[in-house]
């Protein structure tokens, strides 16, 4: 990440801070969750009335729900009353004071990823004083988007600047009652991205959350809403390859995508949240609800994810194909090592006519990790000529890990064609020795073989991410050989 990006980031967080007119009684809320907390949260953020109502309704519903336990995961019970639901920007009191206090393994990874020192500080959670610098790059970026009519801002800003637009779409793809974590998120979400692409506009640049992120606190309950109006096109990048630490263990984000007629949304994620130490302690729980609706004819949504971090990854980026001729795609690499767990996959719901979906899932298990693919292909009676192709491959590294597959296929339309292929393979001793005999170290050999395994998915990532993702995979597999 370059210094110019750092500049933009500092700049945006400066502007964002200015949006907060109300003063904060305390930097951080006392842990606990009740209606008072939610009212205070909404008030601090200066939200319109409808938003508070939405939150309260969601909260009341959440209180009637129980956490789901059907996944192939071992999740320690979470005490929702011991979480603080708001932390003001830039307050990182609990964080390390300098790089000397940071886990040396983490620092080693930053170095391997070629991350500059001040960047390392930011990622390790050290409070960084915002340096207000010259605005050239930031201005160009914002100006370009403004020219195109693209709205890209923090959700909290959107609620103040474009409340009607938000109200029209928020919760229409993932309703508050959808699941336990979505309900919680709907009640207490702190921030996220809001994107609106006007009719016929091809967004002039790839939108990256890096440009939007509040410098200090990574979103614990992020809420993102992307709307691509008719004939528009946008590519959105989320995440970063460097392992991010956060004192908050639970990350329950909600991402809603709406693609209208002839619109295309490409959503790419590279996630490397802190996975915990090699005994699995202290890692992040990444429980995310991501869903897209292709509402218009020929709308298209592509999810691409590379998940290498978190102690537990639990997410199913999905597409509801309502519009005729609409297309949904899901490309995923999920890697688990040491004691990580993943239960991830997708749901493709075909409702309109002539809809198409493609699923390519690559699961890599190493160490003592458990990796599960769970996918649903649902073809409604109305979905004439629906087509799905699913390719679900697992790669096992070593002999103490596990890979599991739970495909669900429900077809109610006779003209539909659904294909499911699955493979499970191992990196064999023979393959490793062959590569070594050609001069490659065992680790380089594993990295090469795994990258070859993931090629199909990496091809879908925007270039910068693809290069980082390959390096990331190599680093994440360290210690998996031998």
């Amino acid at each position: 990440m370059s210094t110019s990006v750092q500049e933009i980031e500092n700049l945006i967080s400066q502007g964002y801070k200015q949006g907060f007119v109300t003063d904060l009684e305390a930097d951080t809320f006392v842990p606990g969750l009740d209606e008072t907390v939610i009212r205070r949260l909404s008030q601090i953020k200066n939200e319109p009335a409808f938003m508070l109502e939405y939150r309260l309704k969601a909260f009341r519903h959440w209180q009637t729900m129980t956490p789901p336990d059907w996944a192939q995961l071992k999740v320690a019970a979470i005490d929702y009353q011991s979480i603080s639901y708001y932390s003001a920007p830039k307050s990182k009191k609990a964080g390390p004071k300098s790089l000397d206090e940071v886990d040396p393994q983490l620092l080693d990874t930053y170095k391997k990823l070629g991350i500059p020192l001040d960047e390392q500080e930011r990622l390790a959670g050290i409070a960084v004083d915002a340096v207000f610098d010259s605005v050239s790059v930031a201005t160009t970026f914002k100006a370009k988007l403004k020219e195109a009519g693209v709205i890209f801002c923090p959700m909290s800003e959107a609620l103040v600047e474009y409340p009607e637009l938000v109200q029209q779409y928020l919760g229409t793809v993932v309703p508050p009652g959808d699941n336990f974590f979505a309900a919680l998120n709907s009640a207490v979400f702190t921030d996220g991205s809001f994107v609106y692409i006007p009719k016929g506009v091809r967004c002039p640049m790839e939108l990256s959350t890096y440009f939007r992120i509040n410098a200090a606190n990574t979103g614990q309950f992020e809420r993102t809403l992307i709307i691509a109006d008719e004939g528009s096109h946008v590519s959105y990048l989320e995440g970063c390859t460097a392992p991010m630490r956060d004192e908050n263990q639970l990350h329950a984000a909600v991402v809603e995508l709406v693609a209208l007629e002839n619109a295309t949304i490409k959503y790419s994620t590279v996630q490397n949240w802190y996975p915990g130490d090699k005994d699995g302690i202290g890692g992040i729980y990444n429980f995310v609800t991501k869903r897209a609706e292709c509402r218009g004819r020929k709308a298209k949504v592509s999810w691409t994810q590379v998940e290498t971090g978190s102690a537990i990854t639990w997410k199913y980026p999905s597409c509801v194909l309502l519009g005729d001729d609409s297309v949904g795609e899901f490309y995923s690499v999920a890697l688990t090592n040491n004691l990580q767990q993943a239960d991830t996959g997708t749901k493709m719901i075909h409702i309109g006519k002539n809809t198409r979906s493609t699923i390519v899932s690559k699961g890599i298990s190493a160490g003592r990790a458990q990796n599960t693919y769970r996918g649903l292909v649902k073809i409604a009676k109305s979905a004439l000529n629906a087509r799905n192709h699913t390719q679900c491959d697992s790669l096992l590294v070593g002999d103490k890990c596990g890979a599991h597959t739970f495909p669900y296929v429900e077809v109610k339309q006779p003209s539909a064609q659904v294909e499911h292929e699955a493979t499970t393979s191992k990196i064999s001793e023979e393959q490793l020795f062959f590569c070594q005999q050609r001069g490659l170290s065992a680790e380089d050999a594993v990295s090469m073989i795994v990258n070859g395994f993931c090629k199909e998915v990496f091809r879908e990532l925007p270039m910068e991410f693809a290069v980082e993702a390959q390096a990331l995979l190599g680093i994440s597999l360290e210690g998996a050989v031998g």
Partner: protein
């Protein structure tokens, strides 16, 4: 350049090599023949560094270095190449990618910069032509869907690119038809030089018609029981191995 002295090797508890000695000078082509179970594959595996073998006695010196103390990838980077009897498949990794990675690992080891992309492509295409292979195969995954003959040719192609100093051919002729055998042999012969030595492991005289050895050894019951010139191979073809068995070297 290769000096094996009194090598004793076990697989598990079972002794396979029982005092094998061999000297190879630069530029020499040695053939090792012998009955099944004699220890020919064990020798090639121990020299290349495959796991699962225990050296109980003896030494191997390679250009003055203790070969057995070197990790397999270091041996490779120092110029030891094994053309496998059963080359493995590596899905997802293209042949050209592997070649480049291997070549760069070797160059890196020698303190050389990574090979220029254009130069590399030219080099590879030239060698592909030499081995009468289709360029398209370069972009296919390593050995995936290859016939036996194609796999063996691929091994020789890799040797041609990586330019080893000691080239061990482990039953390279097994599974090859007449034409493939001729092409592979031509490829090997094109690699012969004063700085390169070959150790060919084979059952049959046939290969030695195409690749004329300087020395022929017979390995039986874990030991070299006889060494001689190319005519020894012809004698074996005629008489079999039994007249040699029971003879200590």
């Amino acid at each position: 350049m290769l000096s094996i002295k009194n090598l004793h090797v076990n697989v598990g508890d079972k002794p396979i090599l029982k005092g094998l000695s061999l000297d190879i000078k630069p530029g020499e082509v040695h053939a090792i023949m012998g009955p099944n179970g004699a220890g020919k594959s064990t020798l090639s595996h121990v020299l290349s560094g495959k796991a699962g073998y225990t050296v109980t006695e003896g030494s191997v010196s390679y250009y003055g270095q203790d070969l057995l103390a070197m990790a397999p990838e270091i041996r490779a980077r120092e110029g030891v190449f094994l053309a496998f009897q059963y080359p493995v498949e590596i899905p997802g990794v293209s042949n050209i990618y592997l070649l480049k990675a291997a070549l760069n690992a070797i160059r890196n080891h020698k303190g050389l910069p990574e090979v220029d992309a254009m130069d590399f492509l030219t080099l590879v295409k030239g060698k592909v032509k030499l081995l009468q292979m289709d360029e398209k195969f370069l972009y296919r995954a390593v050995n995936e869907g290859f016939s036996g003959g194609e796999k063996k040719r691929n091994e020789i192609l890799q040797a041609a690119i990586l330019e080893p100093k000691l080239c061990i051919l482990d039953e390279t002729d097994s599974g090859l038809d007449i034409d493939a055998l001729r092409i592979v042999s031509e490829g090997v012969n094109s690699l012969r030089s004063a700085e390169r030595s070959f150790l060919m492991i084979t059952h049959y005289q046939r290969l030695l018609d195409y690749i004329k050895p300087d020395v022929v050894h017979v390995l039986a019951d874990g030991r070299m029981v006889k060494s001689g010139g190319p005519e020894l191979a012809l004698e074996l073809e005629e008489k079999g191995y039994s007249w040699l068995e029971g003879q200590a070297a």
